[in-house]
Symmetry: C2
Subunit: 492 residues, 2 copies
């Protein structure tokens, strides 16, 4: 495969697919729609996990683990949820293979080993978890239950794309149980805030917090709160969702608690999740035609040292300096790589670390040794500066912060520039078709209009922003009365 | 369920099952053979994971993630491995459910959505991983590959027990690829050492490092290195294994590399894993009739504070002192819980934290306030001491270390006392039947004798210890010549 990336302006989708593979993030596997997450990609995911896990624990949640399989009879108990996921369920029907009598050395499914009840590979775990919570909850003293699970799930998708839509993906799913409606709603909004904070402060990816319309809600939810990001190609990405599930699952699984006053009440539920899809958002928010651009807070390698030398003596002198500076940087919590490979020229190394999105590159050559300097290059802007060796640590720390802030600011400018307020359907179509991005428009609140607009423009309502202003207006399509603008976009 | 545990001497197996459930570690789920790992149990597993992950990274490994499913044609490629796992494979045959036309509100497998090729839910990942490595390896420069994966796997077991043997379990599986046989063997031995170090230094569980006999090896391995621990009931537990796989998988998946000299060679492989089974070993090594006993290094809560008070004023004064001491302890990295519940009496709290195995309990009452003391109780020995408040931090740090060491020393004494050297088969049967534990005996090296002994005594060869002395002897069963003793035991 050529090292050269397709340009974003030539074919954004092709650029994305190539970048994911060439930067060693992930690749397709022999299993339809399932990916292999390669070590470099997984290292980024681990950083995301660690930070999210910290934030979940700080908000009072604990981790646990529930079975991969959901017996069909449990899966179908909450009808809307079952209906929503039935079409994409991988189903285990047998529990044994045997030698194939017709083909030597091959195996076949043992027809005698058919399960009495089929097992669904979890597409989401509400059913198996609420069936468990039933036994954990008797009284108000057992509430709230605040549990998160890190797990793999399977949704049989027909059109898949690395990270963005895969048959198997990794995610976390929070499942909480509450005594009151208010507390459950507060929890689902809190987790939406946690997701937004993570997206903005760590991924440097600005998001809009909003509520989904009824037709875009999670199957079985009364409300779905979402964070929506905007990619460089003007398409939106749903980056995380938090669901207020009402009492639907408590009803389906008969989960009641005794109140302080001795009454039996159904329990209130939330669930919330983010997945390896975030990797897709991270990649598409910042990267460029030279490859990946990573925000320093999630970069597995924050600084790479590349030595430039003509002989062993020079190499040794450089290596010594690098070791000194590295120790200081590591003590400050900076992650370092010293690229000592003697099989590649410096130029090739520069290109490789640019492709992999390492935020800072420090080159050191014979001239630097003489002058007591190094050359520091920013991945995001390609700016280079010569810095005195004594000033490297401070400069690096400062630049890492600056890059993190700049990436967010740039993504936010892009998002703001690509959020267009429109009042006519002509304008609406034009913006969706040509400029792309979010369109803030009045909507009459009906599923009919929503569907019609989707049919005509492929744009969907991404969310009703939580901070939308009350404003008299007319629906951009039907002309009916509306009181606030919602955000439309084409989406991943 | 009663709070009272069955005694170990009455029924060890019942004691274990009750303890796992009552200490809130895990429970059976609605899915046959699959468990729910509850938050307290999962918190211990997270501590194990964090430490193992650190040790894997320190030895040069990176994490990645490979698909849950293995297409049947890949699964069967390495014949011995396939044969070994075929009988316990969960198989996905369909990818969609649909409304059942005969039962309103129910679902059924959509007969139209049958997969062309069945997918095996991974019982282990050699096949899918080596099929991937094929594309990653061309030249000696691509080697070694040192990858680990944290994942769930499924083996359809007929008789299951929480943590010890479950249809789905969590584990890590390392899969490495090497240019030479020597390097691959060194890697598998290195990982056995890492496992032994983890077991002894963190779980406080002494282990014997050895090699498995041919009949006990992993399916597809040329050598299986194991760490074997001894439980309190005299049965052995295989706690971790590391396999030298030779070139079997490289051959099955045609994975070759070009050497420095330009020759094509097959790649050498290892794999190694530990699982949530370690939780079973941890529980059975240290716990007693009062409940769980946890080594401080893996205890989610290391110190619990229980206030003893008659009125709010006393409570407030105690809470203030607890806050002071807690801050100091947290700064030293000690994990703390202050049990402020007003719904339970101190005695009930004591019993609960004993059941949950918290290493140290600190009680503080009115008298302690007056005297400037606290009462510290060790979970492992039940010893109590009154300690001046200024000395609490030092005492706690010292006791945590002492408990960690004592647990290991006690388990090691038990193991040594229950390792019996025998030279006749009468003695062999007597020890296996009555005293239990490891029996060190000469064996003639044949599978025939091994099977015969297993048939007659239910004891298997746990391992050929790596440090077994060269010693002339006669097989305890056949009388044939033997050069070293091997360890027999009944096992989990
Ligand atoms: Zn633009
Ligand atoms: Zn004994």
């Amino acid at each position: 495969m050529s090292k050269k990336l397709t340009k974003r302006s030539d074919d954004y989708s092709k650029w994305y697919n190539e970048l994911v593979v060439k930067a060693d993030l992930a690749e397709n596997s022999a299993v339809r729609g399932c990916m292999v997450i390669k070590p470099y990609g997984y290292a980024i995911w681990e950083k995301m996990q660690a930070q999210l896990d910290k934030m979940f624990k700080e908000t009072g949640h604990e981790n646990a683990y529930f079975p991969l399989f959901v017996p069909k009879s449990l899966f179908e108990a909450e009808e809307k949820n079952a209906e929503g996921f039935a079409k994409e369920c991988a189903v285990v029907t047998h529990y044994r293979l045997q030698a194939d009598p017709d083909k030597k050395g091959k195996l076949r499914v043992d027809p005698e080993a058919k399960l009495e009840e089929e097992l669904v590979v979890r597409p989401t775990s509400e059913a198996i978890i609420w069936n468990t919570y039933k036994n954990w909850i008797q009284s108000y003293r057992d509430l709230p239950i605040l549990i998160n699970q890190w797990a793999n799930v399977v949704r049989w998708e027909m059109r898949t794309r690395l990270f963005l839509r895969t048959a198997e993906f990794l995610w976390q799913e929070g499942h909480t149980a509450h005594a009151t409606k208010e507390e459950a709603i507060a929890e689902s909004l809190q987790m939406q805030r946690v997701y937004a904070e993570f997206a903005e402060d760590f991924m440097a990816m600005p998001v809009v917090k909003g509520a989904k319309t009824e037709s875009e809600r999670f199957a079985g939810a009364l409300d779905t709160y979402t964070i929506e990001a905007l990619m460089q190609d003007g398409k939106a990405l749903q980056a995380g969702t938090s669901h207020f599930l009402g009492q639907n699952f408590a009803e389906a699984f008969d989960v009641k608690y005794v109140t302080k006053e001795g009454k039996q009440e159904l329990v209130w539920a939330t669930s919330w999740g983010v997945s390896t899809r975030l990797m897709g958002g991270l990649i598409m928010t910042h990267s460029d035609d030279a490859g990946l651009v990573l925000p320093p807070k999630l970069a597995p390698i924050q600084v790479v040292f590349v030595p430039i030398y003509k002989n062993e003596e020079q190499f040794d002198a450089i290596a010594e300096k690098v070791a000194e500076i590295s120790t200081e940087l590591k003590n400050k919590g900076v992650s370092i790589k010293f690229d000592k490979r003697d099989t590649l020229r410096p130029g090739a190394k520069f290109a490789e670390w640019e492709l992999k999105g390492v935020p800072l590159r420090i080159a050191m050559g014979a001239r630097d040794l003489e002058n007591g300097t190094v050359e520091i290059a920013r991945r995001d802007t390609f700016e280079k500066q010569s810095v005195a060796q004594e000033a490297v640590v401070d400069t690096v720390l400062h630049l890492l912060e600056t890059i993190q802030e700049d990436l967010f600011a740039n993504a936010k400018s892009f998002r703001d520039e690509h959020t267009t307020v429109v009042d006519t359907f002509e304008e609406f179509k034009d913006v969706i078709e040509n400029k792309g991005g979010f369109v803030a428009a009045h909507w009459d609140g009906t599923a009919e209009t929503e569907n019609k607009i989707k049919e005509l423009t492929k744009a969907t309502i991404r969310c009703i922003p939580l901070d939308a202003l009350e404003e008299e207006g007319k629906c951009v399509y039907s002309g009916q009365k509306s009181t606030k603008r919602v955000l439309f976009a084409k989406a991943y």
